[in-house]
């Protein structure tokens, strides 16, 4: 039975359509790897405009349910419940226990060009502008975490006007701009402080510290690349992995 759009419902049409398609994916009616109907067919099936279909599909692409393939169509990319065994981890736990952070100083919030390998890391052309944000987090006035974030300017042009001292970039994306982070790729290594970093963290140059680099994705779109340098002596951090068996 085809679930239809309820025009008496006050919810926006694209949200209703988004919910219907999501149910089909999660329920297995539309299995992973299959192609979804064309925009035109979806318009006919649900008696909605092309703009409504496009918005709903884009949102599902951003959430990682669908994947667009140039010249071929749009395909089911994943269901909420995996077919196999997956390792799930909460995004929050990878953000270095943000609740423990008492104060944040914004050292820089500006726009620049992607130098070094930033264009590759951000998956953008080298002549596109990016937003650069540098924060220093402290506990009891002791600096413990240096955070540098790089965001392609076109993703969020108004971001610089937001209050970044009291909200994480992660929250700003989700709450102010409706950009849902669906995937975070983390890389942890030991690095050595340069002069500038050592001054900010009150450590000597060359001190070994933990470097966490994160790539934040919404669907297939890379939203942000972040470098977190953390004093190794202040606290540990936890990544909890949960194995989902079907």
């Amino acid at each position: 039975m085809i679930e239809l759009i309820d025009r008496e419902n006050h919810q926006k049409l694209y949200l209703q359509l988004h919910s219907i398609i999501k149910k089909k994916i999660e329920g297995g009616e539309w299995p992973i790897g299959t192609q979804i109907p064309t925009e035109e067919d979806l318009c006919k099936m649900f008696s909605v405009s092309r703009a409504t279909v496009r918005t709903a599909v884009l949102e599902l692409v951003r959430e990682g349910y669908l994947k667009r393939q140039q010249g071929k169509g749009t395909f089911i990319y994943k269901s909420a419940v995996s077919d196999g065994i997956s390792m799930m981890t909460s995004l929050r736990e990878l953000l270095f226990e943000e609740d423990l952070i008492f104060s944040t100083d914004i050292l820089a919030r500006t726009v620049m060009m992607p130098v070094d390998d930033l264009d590759i890391r951000l998956e953008i052309p080298p002549d596109k502008h990016i937003i650069y944000i540098k924060k220093l987090h402290s506990i009891d006035n002791e600096p413990i975490l240096l955070q540098e974030s790089y965001i392609p300017y076109h993703i969020c042009p108004l971001l610089l006007e937001d209050d970044m001292r009291h909200a994480s970039l992660f929250d700003l994306f989700e709450k102010n701009y409706g950009i849902k982070i669906t995937r975070v790729r983390n890389h942890i290594e030991i690095t050595y402080l340069n002069l500038n970093e050592s001054r900010l963290l009150n450590l000597t140059e060359g001190t070994a510290v933990i470097l966490l680099t994160q790539h934040f994705y919404s669907g297939d779109t890379l939203i942000m690349y972040t470098r977190l340098i953390k004093r190794p002596d202040r606290f540990q951090f936890l990544i909890e992995l949960e194995r989902k068996l079907l």
Binding site: L107, R109, T110, V111, M112, M113, V115, D127, Y132, Y153
Partner: protein, 173 residues
Amino acid sequence: MSNGKVVKDVMIGIFEYPHVPYWFSIGQAVRIVKVSFISSKKYTDPMAILVFDEKYNLMGTLTLKDILRGLEPDFLKPSAKAQVPEENESGLALIWDTLFTKGTKELAEKPVSDIMTPAKRFVEPGDPVTKAAYLMLHNDLALLPVLEDKKKFVGIVRMIEVFDAVSDAIVKE
């Protein structure tokens, strides 16, 4: 003279030009010029970079001339005492050539704030184009920032648009 045109009629967007923070090195600025203008064959006039502070306030501009001047060895720079005869100029240029690999690479480590043209003069969107022309001529500026309410950086005025607007009166007569 400018047919009543004001700055906002001729200004262009700030994202027409690359942005860098003041702590970027000259070497990084050189690579940005290559990517943004030379490799992409976007030969705008002038080719320049906008330099900002950590709060995204405009600090200055960096033209190709500023960059080359920043890479020039100190002893080649003209001083009031040393008059260099014209015939020796090519010789000095050759010395620069021999020093280029070592000396210039060291100079390229300097921050762009050391060599930029500080942004001291501005126009407002509602100012007449002739005011922009006057400021650019008398201060030898390639670009003029446009500030809204003396604070928000909203655009750029270039000589080509100023020339076009100001010269309309002559062409139309």
